[in-house]
């Protein structure tokens, strides 16, 4: 939360410092099956933000007492590599990482068919390799792909993106510099195919109208993100079939 002083984050033509239009996302890359040991994995990049996710399970958890009789336990760890941030991050889990692990888990709970695997654990490990804004939504997107890659049955794929409010204007997919000077940051995660918003936070000050407008920007973008996820998964499995 740095000084919000007289910095301008828009060029004269209304585009952002990196040339994007307000409702334009950064270049997105998605790759699945990037790891050998994990049952499923994905690497997702939104601009310079890079997040790796891996899924193990359904499997018997090491601590047996955590199982739930009628469904699988989802376990999610959102973790940042020490070299992912501008200043080296201590590897011990921060309070922020604890919160985001919960927020991401709760964004996945509505889509994973955990009742098909009672008394097991499905472990989702999210490693932020480079943090340049939007790590939680990029992480959620990577987790969705990794779950699908692991063959875990899901109601729908999820994707995420953050909307920011900068100098009174709403912009899609804010990066770290924008976030530092933003009046508000609103990460959204959703499963468009079942019409559910599964991750929703606002950090900052917005009117209700701004929130709804921003939410619509995010949902429209998530539609596109989830379409990309489907493409990537399809092309992987098409390749496999060849």
């Amino acid at each position: 939360m740095a000084r919000k002083d007289n910095v301008t984050l828009f060029r004269e033509d209304g585009t952002r410092l990196d040339g994007r239009k307000p409702d334009e996302m950064r270049p997105i890359k998605m790759e699945v099956g990037v790891l050998d040991n994990a049952d499923g994995s994905a690497l997702v990049e939104f601009g310079r933000t890079k997040v790796l996710a891996a899924v193990y399970g359904p499997r018997e958890p090491v601590q047996k007492y955590i199982v739930i009789p009628d469904k699988a336990v989802l376990r999610v760890r959102y973790h940042m590599a020490p070299f992912s941030t501008s200043e080296r991050k201590s590897p011990a889990p921060s309070r922020r990482e604890v919160e985001l692990s919960k927020v991401i888990r709760e964004a996945l709970e509505p889509v994973v068919l955990t009742d098909q695997f009672p008394r097991t654990a499905i472990d989702i490990f999210i490693e932020v390799l480079q943090a340049d804004g939007g790590t939680r939504t990029t992480g959620l997107t990577a987790a969705s792909l990794a779950l699908a890659d692991a063959g875990i049955p899901m109601r729908a794929l999820v994707g995420g993106v953050a909307v920011g409010k900068i100098q009174g204007r709403l912009v899609l997919d804010i990066d770290e510099v924008e976030d530092n000077y933003a009046e508000a940051d609103m990460p959204v995660g959703a499963a468009p195919d079942i019409g559910l918003i599964t991750l929703f936070q606002i950090n900052g000050v917005m009117t209700r109208e701004e929130v709804m407008k921003g939410l619509d920007m995010a949902l429209e973008a998530i539609n596109r993100i989830v379409e990309m996820e489907k493409e990537v998964l399809k092309s992987k499995y098409m390749k496999v079939e060849v």
Partner: protein, 278 residues
């Protein structure tokens, strides 16, 4: 690592149906309608040795907030601001399921949501907390102590935090030639400067219903919750979806509608308690 919580007992399905059938009639088990918070009692100045304090009872939920103000160093990137830190503890006397130990993910989430909602809108005037720029500032600690858990810890905690902050006194100090600062605990410079007042409104989604200020019983059978922080101007200054289900766009609209009304109730209770205090 965040883990799907195990809800004891597994039987709430039956209870859920009972609750929903009441909601259908616009009623709740404790005789409230769906959109009204429980009875609110706010008592300030309960911890005389703290710079500010409040005990909030929201139905049977009880949260104590204490504000301590100490001298410290500012963050490197905000040399001209004091520091606000919110910390929450779910001490084991508050509930049979709370365990001794460091804050779990629920306590951390609560503290961070309260913290952000206060910080983002600038509720506490941090600029007024500088003693020597870049070197010495006041650190404002808000400690939330849940002592009886009957649901909706967010709203009770925010009310307690806000009541404690609004009644907090900034200590006086003496500066020695060596540059050292001695805090004069018994003298005050006057009240802590507050720019905005914030409340959160928590609604739970149970089946197709959105209800305000859920009890613990209701939280147990709820699908999900939404915490909306608003300031005295009606602006949204923070929001957190918490819980295992998703929301449709329409449900979110509905949440905002419902939250507006409840916020007014909270503001009224808070201002009345503070006015009583003087």
């Amino acid at each position: 690592m965040s883990m799907t919580p195990f809800r004891v007992p597994v039987v709430p399905t039956l209870k859920k149906e009972t609750f929903i059938s009441l909601y259908r009639k616009g009623m709740r088990i404790d005789d409230r309608d769906l959109f009204t918070p429980r009875k609110i009692e706010i008592e300030t100045g309960v911890i005389e040795k703290a710079e500010g304090s409040a005990l909030v009872k929201l139905g049977n939920t009880k949260v104590l907030a204490g504000v301590k103000i100490e001298v410290g160093t500012p963050f490197k990137d905000t040399p001209n601001q004091g520091v606000l830190t919110v910390h929450a503890e779910f001490v084991p006397l508050a509930s049979p399921v709370f365990e001794p130990g460091p804050p779990d993910e629920n306590a951390i989430e609560l503290a961070r949501v309260i913290d952000r909602s206060l910080r983002e809108v600038g509720a506490v005037d941090l600029e007024s907390l500088v003693i020597r720029e870049g070197e010495k500032v006041w650190i404002v600690w808000v400690d939330l102590y849940v002592i009886d858990h009957d649901g909706n810890l967010f709203d009770a905690s925010m009310l307690a935090a806000m009541a404690a902050l609004r009644t907090a006194k900034l200590p006086d100090y003496e500066e020695y030639e060596t540059g050292e600062i001695e805090v004069l605990k018994d003298k005050s410079q006057g009240p802590l400067k507050i720019n905005h007042t914030v409340v959160t409104v928590t609604t739970a989604k149970v089946g197709d219903y959105i209800i305000v200020d859920p009890t613990l019983d209701e939280e147990t059978i709820a699908d999900s919750r939404m915490v909306v922080a608003v300031d005295e101007q009606g602006r949204i200054v923070g929001l957190q979806k918490t819980g295992e289900a998703g929301y449709t766009r329409e449900e979110i609209q509905k949440v905002f509608n419902i939250s507006q009304g409840a916020a007014k109730v909270y503001f009224k209770s808070l201002e009345e308690a503070l006015a009583r205090k003087g």
